[in-house]
Amino acid sequence: MHRWNRMVWVAMLWVGCASALDVGTQAPDFSLPDVRTGGTVSPADLLEDHQAVVVVFIATGCPYSNAFNHVMSDLARKYSAKNVAFVGVNSNRTEPADAVRRHAEENDFPFAVVKDEGNVVADRYGAQVTPEVFLVAKNGEIVYHGALGNSRQPTTRAEEVNGEELGGALEDLLSGRPVAVPRTKAFGCTIKR
């Protein structure tokens, strides 16, 4: 485990789930099995050999989150070529691991999806919504938090959604620039705790 992970773990014990972790803070690590392969998924481990990790809180039954399924997949494919890993996290108490696995299979997500039993990861990140994104840089710092896209005019229509906000943040990060818009509002369904 990285030094920053241990430090963040200790810090999070008292921070609790009051509000979302802000940009500039260290992302908490977690270690959970991929619902499809069973392999362990850990952002800290992924950062060993990736430039960045996108942690995105998703749902199986939220129409707003589901409208973005193809956007998540497209971005994950596009940026895997640029050495960015995506991890989908389902923290909804009402959506069991088996449903999460089926949802990942049906949508053919090209990224790992984990089931966050007991909302532990959601609480550490302070995530409230699906979909809600935390972009984690190589050094473990959160550099973008918020929506995948459509932050000005949220829509449940899959044909109208885009990944402009996360895409812009990724482009900035990978180009070595500060992320121009590091925070947006992440409209969507509440994470059921």
Binding site: S151, R152, K185, I191
Partner: protein
């Protein structure tokens, strides 16, 4: 004399944006205002809605007003109206018409990230006193209302 816009408008839902919503809340000064944001596609929103309407009715005569804001898109206005009619809501019903979601959210509560449902309770002076992200919970909401009355 009615303007063409008013002549055209015949629905239950009134459009509301980042400028008009704070004014609507402010106009209710002297009353406790409960503002609920919901959408037809939001299951928890629909589930808790009858309780909110019931609370609004229960305390209406004591100076409580329930304002509901549908976050549905214009294409879903008919479905939103049908839901409200089924719930017996016939006043203070609005639908999003904001230019910028972030500004709209911040105009209500900068701490609100945009999660639905969301319910906010303003006191008689128009100050935001309580916020609920996700389902409000009748008991908690009723306690808050009683505290502010």
């Amino acid at each position: 004399m009615l303007t063409p816009a008013l002549l055209l408008w015949a629905g239950l839902l009134h459009p509301v944006d980042e400028v008009t919503l704070p004014k609507i809340i402010a106009e209710q000064r002297g009353r406790v205002v409960v503002v609920n944001f919901w959408a037809t596609w939001c299951g928890p929103c629909r589930e808790e809605f009858p309780e909110l309407v019931d609370l609004g009715r229960k305390y209406m005569d004591r100076g409580v007003v329930l304002i509901t804001v549908s976050m549905d898109e214009p294409q879903d206005e008919e479905a939103a109206e049908a839901f409200l009619e089924a719930q017996g809501v016939d006043d203070f019903a609005y639908i999003r018409a904001f230019l910028d979601f972030e500004r709209f959210v911040n105009a209500v509560d900068p701490e609100w990230i945009g999660v639905l449902p969301a319910t906010f309770v303003f006191d008689r002076e128009g100050r935001l006193r309580f916020r609920h992200y996700g389902e409000a919970g009748r008991t908690e909401l009723e306690t808050e209302i009683q505290e502010l009355l």
